[in-house]
Amino acid sequence: MKGLSPIRSFRHGIHPAEHKETTRERPIQRIPFPDEVVLPLSQHTGAPSRAVVARGERVQRGQRIAEAGGYVSVPLHASATGRVKEIARHHHPTGRLDDAIVIEVDHASAQTLYDEHPIDWQSRSPAQLLEVIRDGGFVGLGGAAFPTHVKLALPEGKRARWLMVNGCECEPYLTSDHRIMLEWAEWIFLGARVLTRILGTEKTYIGVETNKWDAIKHLAEHLPDDIDCELVPLQTHYPQGAEKMLISAVLEREVPSGRLPIDVHAVVQNVGTLAGIGELVAYGQPLIERVVTVTGPGVRAPATLLVPVGTRLSDVLAHCGGLTDDAREILYGGPMMGTPQQFLDVPILKGTSGIVCLTEGQLRARREYPCIRCGACLDACPVFLNPSTLGALARAGHYEQMMDYHVMDCMECGSCTYVCPSNIPLVQRFRVAKGLLREAQARERELRDKEAAA
């Protein structure tokens, strides 16, 4: 087939059970507007947005309700037409309480888009297009929610040669990217065209795992003619969708430790983000809704939903028939790296790719055995760390020494913990260690700054 390369992969990694069959065949369905949407001002990496609306104000769907709070920040838009009920602290999916704009949805409204218009992107300069993307409130939709315009702004002296489109979706259970590739191919390619114009890239690679052959075939049949595109089938292997793994699989290059993909001339974007940018330039729709996979044995009617950002988890679950009686843990994201939720009133964020509901049987506490240094974790770690030794150091509390074993390069994918026959919660210990080390570093910096000031 045209534009299709042989199957590639990265070294190490794991292959957990996929569990994708529940939702992979379920087309994207729009969920009815809820009574209220909760829009936290901090839905992205970086500074929180600043509200520009007041309590009681009427807002229209797609209208900007908060401006960017800095360079690494994005504006926020109303995801439904209605009235601002309050701007108050609200449960946030990260577990914190955070400022959020609550909009009472006007069910009588037609929910038409504020200022709907196509953007003549071909006549705009790359700098202007970056502004359009920032003003659209775009962040990475794969989960990390990093502001897209920052990722697309090339640092001085750096050149982007390859645009890497990430359609791996390597987390078990999740199928939202799969559905997007099957249903919204034209938006993805429109987005790719826009980004090619912004970045000046030579070639676009689209990496998709081979457990989504229908998506690979569909995209290959609809490849655009005006940009150089190649579809790269990737072995179904976790964490294939991690930026660094995608780059080593497709380009056979490694991003230097502590650096960014742009250092090897690559820019990685998730298929969902690209499709969103496609819609943005097609009719001016900012990032106000996203595709969410609702799945797992703990939910009665799994589905692929198009959800207004800010819809409460409880509303989404109610739309899916509610939880089963034995549902015990609800995750934002997949079972390898997702965030467990404590409250059902948390909103869907821009970066929420899926809701996985796990049942009692899946959460059985496993007995932890001593490490027998079997080395399975070394063979699993995609960044070639030594989790066995790191785990022993963490257990003993030698956090400083863990720096010598490169703990800061750990991307917390959980592969080591998946394979560990001694059931040691390795990645959890590394998260704790990294948090403490970062705190210590920040304290040290502060102290130095104070000394310098004095």
Binding site: S9, R11, I14, P16, A17, P172, K244, S248, E252, E254, V255, P256, S257, G258, S314, L317, A318, G322, L323, D325, D326, A327, R328, E329, I330, L331, P335, M336, P340, Q342, L344, L358, E360, L363, R366, R367, Y369, P370, C371, I372, R373, C374, G375, A376, L378, V383, F384, L385, N386, S388, T389, D409, G414, T417, Y418, P421, S422, P425, V427, R431
Partner: protein, 343 residues
């Protein structure tokens, strides 16, 4: 909408490979089953009694010294003590008095493992610690081998199996020399085919190379043992022995003889691969294996003993932390050259 019970908030990942330590230990036992059957078939009830004695003593020692709580919660239930017991028994000669075997098992568990802090903490392979202790205390009993044809039937115990503790055992069997001893002291080489299939005198588990290789192949295929270690040891022994053989073919036997004789197969496949006491890094495993191979040949050819596998492994066990320290893997993005992606 609410669930019957409150939501749980626990740490990812929630997917887990269905494999834990007791299961690995069970698979090691399965892999050793043919060797156990063969030794019982060849040496009769004496062999069976030695294996049972070692296994029961190891498990009981661990249970007694680690809390004596309910068996299920005891560290002894993870199966590692059973494996230690079996491996110790397989290094012992078939006519060894049972009380000596039991003493060796206690030393293996207590001094080889529990004093270091239990599973995963020990520096030296516990079964070899037990065996080394016995060899130091009872050199004669440990090197009295009998051919497998010098006894009547299965239930015909050797006179020394049931000897009373600390009384001189009655060595009534016709003692015959192992291939290594024959070679070293008499200069007589044994037929390679006999060594491969197991028709030779020796310890319980070291007589048939074939069965040991089958079990090792199974474990390596299931990734329960690090294939680099046995392969590295075989290569190292073969190369070192061949080099010596080329210098003086009269004095030094060839590589194949070294590979098939003595405890090399048992040691290389089941003892040196003990993950706790061998390097965890791939490069470290190769260095560890090369060291063992060279030491085996050196001890066999230039030492006072006909066999050197045990000391070679114990010495390299001691070097393991150092090897691990200097062979840390080059992390992603460190600029190290990398082989292509492997599926």
């Amino acid at each position: 909408m609410s669930t019957g019970a409150p939501l749980i908030v626990s740490a990812t990942p929630f997917e887990k490979r269905p494999l834990d330590t007791p299961r690995i230990m069970r698979h090691v036992c399965y892999a050793l089953a043919p060797v156990i059957f063969a030794s019982v078939y060849r040496f009769g009830a004496s062999a069976l009694l030695i294996i049972l004695t070692c296994v029961v003593t190891c498990a009981l020692s661990e249970w007694l010294l680690s809390g004596r709580g309910p068996w299920r919660d005891s560290p002894a239930a993870d199966g590692s003590a059973v494996v230690t017991g079996i491996l110790l028994a397989l290094t012992l000669p078939p006519g060894l008095p049972l009380w000596m075997a039991a003493l060796g098992a206690v030393v293996a568990m207590v001094f080889g493992k529990l004093l270091f802090g239990g599973l995963g903490q020990n520096v030296f392979n516990p079964s070899l610690v037990g065996r080394a202790f016995l060899q130091a205390c009872f050199p004669v009993a440990l090197t009295t081998w009998s051919g497998h044809s010098d006894w009547g039937g299965f239930w015909d115990l050797r006179g020394d199996t049931l000897a009373w503790p600390l009384l001189s055992p009655v060595f009534d069997g016709v003692s015959s020399a192992t291939p290594l001893a024959q070679m070293k002291f008499e200069g007589v080489a044994t037929d390679l085919g006999a060594m491969f299939y197991g028709a030779i005198p020796g310890s319980l588990g070291e007589t048939s190379a074939l069965l040991l290789l089958i079990g090792g192949g199974y474990l390596a295929a299931r990734r329960f043992l690090n294939w680099r270690i046995p392969v590295g040891i075989f290569l190292s022994v073969y190369l070192c022995a061949t080099a010596l053989n080329l210098i003086d073919p009269q004095r030094f036997p060839d590589g194949a003889h070294h590979l098939l004789a003595g405890g090399l197969m048992l040691g290389a496949i089941y003892m040196a691969t003990d993950p706790v006491t061998s390097p965890v890094t791939p490069l470290g495993a190769w260095i560890f294996a090369a060291g063992i191979g060279a030491l085996v040949v050196a001890i066999r050819e230039f030492g006072g003993l006909p066999e050197g596998v045990m000391y070679a492994i114990l010495l390299m066990n001691g070097a393991t932390p150092l090897i691990d320290r200097f062979t840390q893997p080059a992390i992603y993005g460190s600029g190290a050259p990398r082989r292509g992606a492997e599926p």
